[in-house]
Symmetry: C2
Subunit: 561 residues, 2 copies
Amino acid sequence: MQDIEFTIQDGKLWMLQCRVGKRTGLAALNMAMDMLHEGLIDEKTAVMRVAPNQLDELLHPILDPKAEKGAQVIAQGLPAGPGGAVGKIVFTAEDAVEAAAKGEKVILVREETNPEDVEGMRAADGLLTARGGMTSHAALVARGWGKCCIVGCDAVQLKTVDEKRVLVINGKTYNEGDVFSLNGSKGWVYDVAVKTMDASENPRFVEYMQIVDKYRKLGVRTNAENPQDAQQAINFGAEGIGLFRIEHMFYGANSEAPLSKLRKMILSKNTEERKVALNELMPYVIDVTKGTMKVMDGKSVTFRLLDPPLHEFVPQGEEKQKELAEELGITVDAVQKRGESLHEVNPMMGHRGVRLGISYPEVSEMQFRAIFTATAQLIKEGLDPRPEIMIPVTISVSELDFQKKILDRVHAEVEAAEGVKINYLYGTMIEIPRAAILADKMAETAQFFSFGTNDLTQMTYGFSRDDIGSFMPDYLNNKIIPNDPFQTLDVTSVGHLIEIGVKGGRSTNPNLKVGICGEHGGDPASVEFCHLIGMNYVSCSPFRVPIARLAAAQAAIKYDK
Amino acid sequence: MQDIEFTIQDGKLWMLQCRVGKRTGLAALNMAMDMLHEGLIDEKTAVMRVAPNQLDELLHPILDPKAEKGAQVIAQGLPAGPGGAVGKIVFTAEDAVEAAAKGEKVILVREETNPEDVEGMRAADGLLTARGGMTSHAALVARGWGKCCIVGCDAVQLKTVDEKRVLVINGKTYNEGDVFSLNGSKGWVYDVAVKTMDASENPRFVEYMQIVDKYRKLGVRTNAENPQDAQQAINFGAEGIGLFRIEHMFYGANSEAPLSKLRKMILSKNTEERKVALNELMPYVIDVTKGTMKVMDGKSVTFRLLDPPLHEFVPQGEEKQKELAEELGITVDAVQKRGESLHEVNPMMGHRGVRLGISYPEVSEMQFRAIFTATAQLIKEGLDPRPEIMIPVTISVSELDFQKKILDRVHAEVEAAEGVKINYLYGTMIEIPRAAILADKMAETAQFFSFGTNDLTQMTYGFSRDDIGSFMPDYLNNKIIPNDPFQTLDVTSVGHLIEIGVKGGRSTNPNLKVGICGEHGGDPASVEFCHLIGMNYVSCSPFRVPIARLAAAQAAIKYDK
């Protein structure tokens, strides 16, 4: 599609300028599908017509067309940002940020927006402005983010009544907190909550993705640690979990109780104390791993053992330390001392990953036992769980062998106790340069590799992800490097190590399954690279799954003749 | 040489056991030279007869034989540890430690030693015991360290007189603090200070090293940052400086004044303030670089630009912070805040090395100007300075090009101002995996590479040198890795990257000079590897120079047929 400027002078047509026409993801999808159905293009061409990253806009909910029919449109504006949004109305950027922080969905209503509103716009689910056109600030920002937005809605009047800001539409007054729904693709405003639907239910998107999958050769999995994310990813077409980070079950809501047990384990004085704490922790680990494998029934779930340095879990605040001290029956001072003793100068290259499992084999043992027990229980419930156990931060096959001995014993014990046969795969992250270089050895024990390109990029560049803020802008501004290598895989260096790793691994283990997890798994350029070097799958966050699927299909069409 | 156990039974000779005979470095050297002079072995064989690490024992001083002739031996014991020692006598391990901490040279005199004395034995320059034989505790420990030691000296009597410990020899009483000299190779004790001489003056050692150098192909340089170390290294045969770490001039004695100027530079609020501080700092940098290049007249000196993260130089103690605040005319709070803002999660992979020179080009500029000015001054004094400028922590040739532009300008300015032509080489450390992988590009600008195997090992293993203490013992005990890779270069992984680097670099720049700096440069096994992959030189600390020379000669004899 081309944007063309022309003029006619003295009966002559002058073409002044032409460039590729900008369009939203939805428009690109619609154009491709229309042209396909009209027989103008073939399926492969249709697959190539949508840029993978544009799908992002489509992955957010839309108003359910059936539900919309039962609701009354109270105002109409310009459809500046696609998709649907439902939430409480707020009138300032600050209120939007505050409400979002509480987990509330809000729609930010403004006369018009300016750069100072950006944080509030980001926090809001939808934007509604009284003024401005399709190229106003609100419209540009919203489209950039693929956010639902209606601008130039003349009916909107913002007033102050009794020192309180209110919204008046056609004589009716609405207060902060009233629920509105927006259809950003049509510009329609509702003063009720209209049911939304996921993009995965959008028939046009579903049809397009079915065509995409016909051409894709690379598998696409997701990174997920709970049943909700796992289900979301399945809806988006994930074929399994490529990265289940055990430590994630100790973050976020409802994790306080298990986190305190984990802390107890970390602060144990000796192996015996540690084993007691691990035993208390195990039921929770069984529970969470089981819940996710249940949703992923019949699909592989790759569990990565506890990875971060333990000090990350030691409470920092005095109050938390006091709580922990009381629970453990030790002094606050002892809690602090133990925390300090875990301090590291460069934790990213410190006591973490499999290094914990070498120093404290009982920590690995508990995780193996929990995963196998969860698996056995699901088998007995008639399901088909497919666990894969992945060892992180390895540098040598000896580490894999060391952990495997523990795993073999625990596996036999759980099989005997539960009375079922448990199948699994055993593999490793390849995220340290040495592991990539010695991949031929690693693959003598590992049944699969998953390239952890975040860490691999850190080590290959000597760039600490947490610290690049101080120099990355200088590097990009001076064009020292073309991209942030944490966003787009650097094929020349990190990619070179991956290639050594894939070739090395398959040289000693031709059946080796190879994948990638980490941010790059959802980056289209990186997915293309993964296709080219013959990986089996990529794994990315749930909302990137369709993007990875499309990128993989495009790579296959582009390169496989 | 063999240690043989045999017995004769019923007129029959039984060989019970044989093994390679243990001998001191001095004995090995003497045997090799005796056999060479007697025509029993040839030069190459003589070179192979001494283990490089054994030279360590020989590099410490001996009593000057001429001076010994003028002194009276007051007692004789068993020559348990070779070399010479002169110092004040002390009677307990604690006193030895205390005196050594003050920088005093001491001789620890004991009835006999036991494991509790070990710290004191380490701190002392020489050991003298009244009892014990050649396999006593003192003798074993001293030989292990190559430390001067005399045991079983019957004349020694330790007594308590007037509640004070004293030493009585042949009726004469000596008090703590009296000066003794020991000849550990003969077992002779003197009650006066006898002049010592360096091993480099020992004629036998000198002759041996001349033979060694005939067969050596690899150059040997040293790591040094001041005239004293540089001179010491030259005495030991160093052919240049492979690593002059600019930041070392801010450590240790007499560096308080320049360090405070460096701190002022670091805490500058903007480029202008920073330039003022840099200008104040420059005379000192000129002075130190000039002093060392003067000693190294006619030999190359590789200057590595400021490498560590800046926060390392921010004072931690409150008193120092107060001093700095006063000098800068800002509040202590501001000093602390600026220090905190420089804090990094993983400083080893943070804002350091060339990254500082990209963010603050004026910091590189000052260093270039100081080095070129020092060079120009020496040229005008009729000397032959040979500076090499080395950029650390690089990941891309763009960094080298960026810095080179600044360097070219400064070079022209200094040449114009000083009126002399200044020759130099421009090169880079290869210490981050990406630099090794992209060495072909790096060598398009770099005239030399120096492999920084400390950092390269850190990144290749993902092992923070500061943090391995928590898991390295578990790794070695469980035989996960055969050696500490910071002591012996891991040929399979780090070595693989070095090989990629050397080949890549020479593919685009056949004249590329390649060396290694860092601990491995003085490790015999690593030196052998450097010879095998065709490096031009190794660089190590002054006391390791003869060891590297011998290791290099042995590698040439072993592999070059």
